[in-house]
Amino acid sequence: MLSRRGFLKAGGLTLFGVGLMGGIPAFLAEAAASMKVESPYKKKKTLVCIFQRGAMDGLMAVTPFTYQYLKEARPTLFMSAAKGAGGSPLIDLDGRFGLHPSMKAFEPVFREKRLGIVHGIGSPNPTRSHFDAQDYMESGTPFNKGTSSGWLNRAVGLLGHDALTPFSAVSLTSSMPRSFYGDNPAVAINNLQDFAIQMRGNQAGANLAAKSFEDLYDQTASGLLKDTGKESFEAMKILQKTDIKNYKPSNNVVYPSSAIGNSLKQIAQLIRMDVGLEVAFAESNGWDTHFNQGTENGVFARNVADLSNSIMAFWTDLGAYQDDVTVMTMTEFGRTVHQNGTGGTDHGRASCNFILGNDVNGGLVHGNVQPLTVENLEDGRDLKVTTDFRSVFSEVADKHLKITNDHALFPDWSGNKIGVMKA
């Protein structure tokens, strides 16, 4: 309860109060011009998490292409890094791993050492159930189903200060994701434009209703409804001050018109508006590629193109805000080393993930992928999990958000960090 009220207690209200008195607040106007401005409160960092639901084939996204075993296990899915063999080869990252050609948007940031990759990442719980694996990864407790909170909600509680605004934790999803379950204030909203009192075709009516509601909530005896009402209207007005619908990304960026592109675009808007966003969440779907996964073309290629192009559009749009933002992807597990009978891959164990930011120890494929031979596979079939997802998540939370209490963030876990972030 306490944390939510920070917005009302602290500088937030006065800031917005001033802003609301007349015209567009200066800080918003300037933000719109991609100028980073000093806010009255200390600027906070933002962690953006993207869950790739369905289990991404990490071996195709970032292929350990030197292993003959993989080539033989995937007769029609294996891609080579060799140039001139026809088609687009993998992008050779380090002589051992090759990035899928449809993720070429990532290459520059990898070479600039802003993008780090962890390979062999996954959960210690070997379930191959999407549901269970997502549940465990999002609660952050791989052996306990009854954990009521999600790890990102706990992260919000561990930021060390009250939520500065209603936009402290925002999920760009229609319902609250498991990662956000918990007692700390968080908002799930698919479309920022919905953050308003709406009566289609009747703006006067909507205004009247909004005024009525605001007055009623201001007067109510229930503290919860009164305070949340106040926050809601403040939040609504903050968003109304800017033209959400006709948002113009900076640097002439064009976002892919996909779900994840649209989500990241809205997250960029919130960040650039300086409304106190600290933890953001978005989803990317369609990774469960049992059928005809494709290689340089096909469903997997389209998915990784969409993901990498969306993230890079977001990154470019951030402009001067890049220093304050880290993006991290995650997926519940990887896929079988062997392709299946329908040109796809089945549920496996380890996958890889991507971390982008200026404090990332980038330009490296982290982790410990052992030589691909049958003896090194888990259950004789899957890429072994050699890095616990919690070691990466906790390091990112520690270095980017200054959350050092690993035990509170990931109960039951004590492990080492692997250096995905700069020391």
Binding site: F143, G146, L224, S232
Partner: protein
């Protein structure tokens, strides 16, 4: 209640039952009720009038009072009304007519599996039968989608989405229109307590039958029956993985010494246990599972932590592991084509043979002795086995259901649902005593609760925040809305933050106002009120004029007062009315709204001719009229919605803070 009115009530009761043609049977019950109904509600001592008490009662045990229901409850007698709700035998003819249009509601699990195949299953069948070539299966290939659709139609297959749509629709209709309101409230409560989720595809198809056969019939029965029924249901067996849990049948290993070994359960063994489930998890090789061995603790842990004892209920990790061993072999009778091989084998044996071999087959439940750990176990100090078979699991669940921690934990949750987010400990203690003394009889626990002064205390009245589902149904009931498309309401419920049947964690939705009320959700509640009142929710019609017997209020001020009282009876509305009045009297605003209203819904010619009383001058609320039936006029609702000021007033009342409380 004086004896005259009681007599009066009884004769009304008789008359109604005569009409039902159940004279002998029912009158027995009616007499019986009066005898049994020995409790009295102490609301007067708490300073509540009978009307206030009736309003409070309805706010707790229904999805919201319908117009006039407070009067009806007073007439019937508060205690009598409550007893009938506990009996949950009121006829529901009109509701059943509405539900008859939903053809999936009465299907068995096997029929559901046959008609509503899981995602991808129909496709695999079509590929196998050569109807679709597997190379054509690409997301952007329209041809294969059409082929698949034709294939499904030919085979009489429907999408699972349709099954879930029907599940959700029936829940909305039952909550909105059912007469046995308490049973429906309790069904929601227990479903959430024993939560399962559509998000887990293995268990999704079993959820309609879970609510229908496991939860609802036991919702006012004994807690131990409910617990056992959930434990044996395919939905729970799949949701918390117990269907796959198996023990090694090695008795030597299962003695005291192994108890110690098990104590040392480490991550590794847990991982190994789960790894053994691997073949089951991958695609559809469920049949290979019979070869797998491995203990799965998920259900054993949650049955203690979430269903019975509570997290601080006094059990250890060792108890969890041991309980999991007791429950090995509790599984699902094979359904659908995938379990065919196992089913054939089982079907060959007659009931005697099955019994002789230690199998227990009840409906969809199967106890498979070959997967059961025959050894000795100890849970919470009680020994089970060796060779306890199915019965030791029943004993374990019974022990948990009757444990003092369960009484406290379950009664605490009931008090949170029905009294306040922080109910007094004294009340929980009273309820827990009844729970223990009356063998976990849920009705008796509720009677103890309502008979306690704490229930009627002013600190409990209106202390709960309506969940999005409760708000939606309450609003529909307050306005006597006509729901043609229930699923449209679900879209709003989801938007406001309660994606029912999809809550992922076994904890269920948290039952506290703080969880429901956040900024995004709150604005959506307000928008919901406006959308409902102005007729902008497709397939949900409201007739605002009918609520006031087709009397048009004389002014917007009068409308505010009249409709506030209709929608929020027995509340202190002074603040609401005071705050809203100035706005309604602002001529500029009103004019703007009227203009918008006129634009959205131009007056009908018909109305201009016949609407003599409704000149522009006194049509203060901006309502446009159309002829309907025998000279009845009703506020117009076109697809564009009803922009009248009345609709706005009502929308604001539904979205107001006072209405969010119950």
């Amino acid at each position: 209640m004086n004896s005259a009115s009681k007599k009066n009530h009884r004769s009304i009761c008789f008359a109604g039952l005569l009409i039902c043609g159940l004279l002998l049977f029912s009158s027995f019950f009616s007499l019986h009720n009066t005898v049994r109904n020995s409790f009295r509600f102490p609301y007067k001592k708490a300073g509540l009038t009978e009307r206030q008490a009736a309003a409070h009662l309805l706010s707790r045990f229904t999805y919201g009072a319908t117009p006039g229901q407070i009067d009806a409850v007073i007439k019937e007698g508060l205690e009598n009304w409550f007893q009938k709700q506990l009996d949950a035998r009121l006829p529901d003819d009109s509701l059943n007519r509405l539900l008859s249009g939903y053809d999936a509601l009465k299907l068995s699990n096997a029929e559901v599996a046959a008609i509503y195949p899981k995602g991808g299953q129909a496709l695999r069948m079509a590929v196998k039968e050569g109807v679709i070539s597997k190379d054509s299966v690409k997301p952007d290939n329209k041809t294969y989608r059409e082929l698949l659709q034709n294939y499904m139609q030919e085979k009489g297959l429907k999408s699972q989405q349709e099954l879930f749509r029907q599940l959700i629709s029936q829940k909305i209709l039952k909550a909105a229109y059912g007469n046995n309101q308490l049973q429906e409230v309790m069904t929601s409560f227990w479903f959430n307590h024993f939560n399962v989720s559509i998000t887990k595809s293995d268990c999704a198809e079993f959820i309609p039958a879970y609510e229908r056969d496991v939860i609802r019939p036991n919702s006012l029965g004994k807690f131990s029956d409910l617990l056992l029924a959930t434990a044996k249901s395919p939905a729970m067996l799949y949701f918390l993985d117990n269907f796959s849990s198996s023990g090694s049948n090695n008795k030597a290993q299962a003695t005291q010494s192994s108890v110690k070994n098990k104590q040392a359960t480490t991550l590794q063994t847990q991982m190994a246990a789960s790894a053994d489930r691997l073949p089951m998890m991958v695609d559809n090789k469920v049949q290979n599972a019979k070869k797998t061995q491995g203990l799965n603790e998920n259900y054993a842990r949650e049955v203690m932590e979430l269903h019975t004892l509570g997290v601080d209920g006094g059990y250890t990790q060792q108890d969890v592991t041991q309980a999991a061993r007791v429950l090995t072999g509790w599984s699902v009778y094979p359904t659908g084509s995938y379990g065919q091989a196992g089913k054939n084998a089982l079907d060959k044996m007659d009931a005697d043979q099955l019994k002789k071999r230690g199998y227990v087959h009840e409906g969809d439940f199967l106890f498979n002795p070959n997967r059961h750990d025959n050894g000795e176990k100890m849970v919470l100090g009680k020994h089970f086995g060796p060779d306890g078979g199915y019965e030791e699991g029943v004993q374990l669940l019974n022990m948990l259901a009757h444990h003092p921690s369960a009484a406290k934990f379950v009664c605490g949750k009931l008090a949170v649902r029905f009294v306040s987010d922080k109910p007094p400990q004294s009340l929980i203690n009273k309820m827990a005593e009844t729970f223990k003394n009356k063998d976990g009889d849920i009705k008796q626990v509720l009677i103890t609760m309502v008979s306690a002064p704490e229930f009627w205390s002013t600190s409990s009245v209106r202390e709960k925040t309506k969940s999005p589902f409760e708000l939606t149904i309450a609003a529909v009931r307050s306005l006597n809305a006509d729901i043609q498309e229930p699923y449209q309401l679900y879209n709003w419920i989801n938007k406001m933050g309660e994606k029912m049947y999809y809550y992922q964690a076994p904890t269920g939705f948290p039952d506290k106002g703080q969880y429901w009320i956040n900024t995004g959700a709150l604005l959506n509640r307000m928008n919901f009120g406006l959308a409902l009142a102005s007729g902008r929710i497709p397939g949900v019609r409201v007739d605002l004029m009918a609520l006031n017997n087709h009397h048009e209020p004389e002014s917007s001020q009068a409308a505010l007062v009249t409709y506030s009282k209709i929608i929020m009876p027995e509340r202190n509305l002074e603040q609401t009315i005071k705050r809203l009045t100035p706005m309604l009297n602002d001529p500029n605003l009103v004019k703007k709204v009227e203009d918008a209203s006129a634009k959205a819904a131009p007056p009908q010619k018909d109305m201009m001719q016949e609407g003599t009383a409704m000149t522009a001058g006194n049509n203060v609320l901006g309502i446009t009229y159309e002829r309907k039936g025998k000279g009845n006029y009703m506020a117009k609702q076109k697809t564009g919605g009803n922009n009248s000021l009345l609709a706005q007033v009502v929308g604001v009342i539904i979205g107001s803070p006072e209405y969010q409380r119950r």
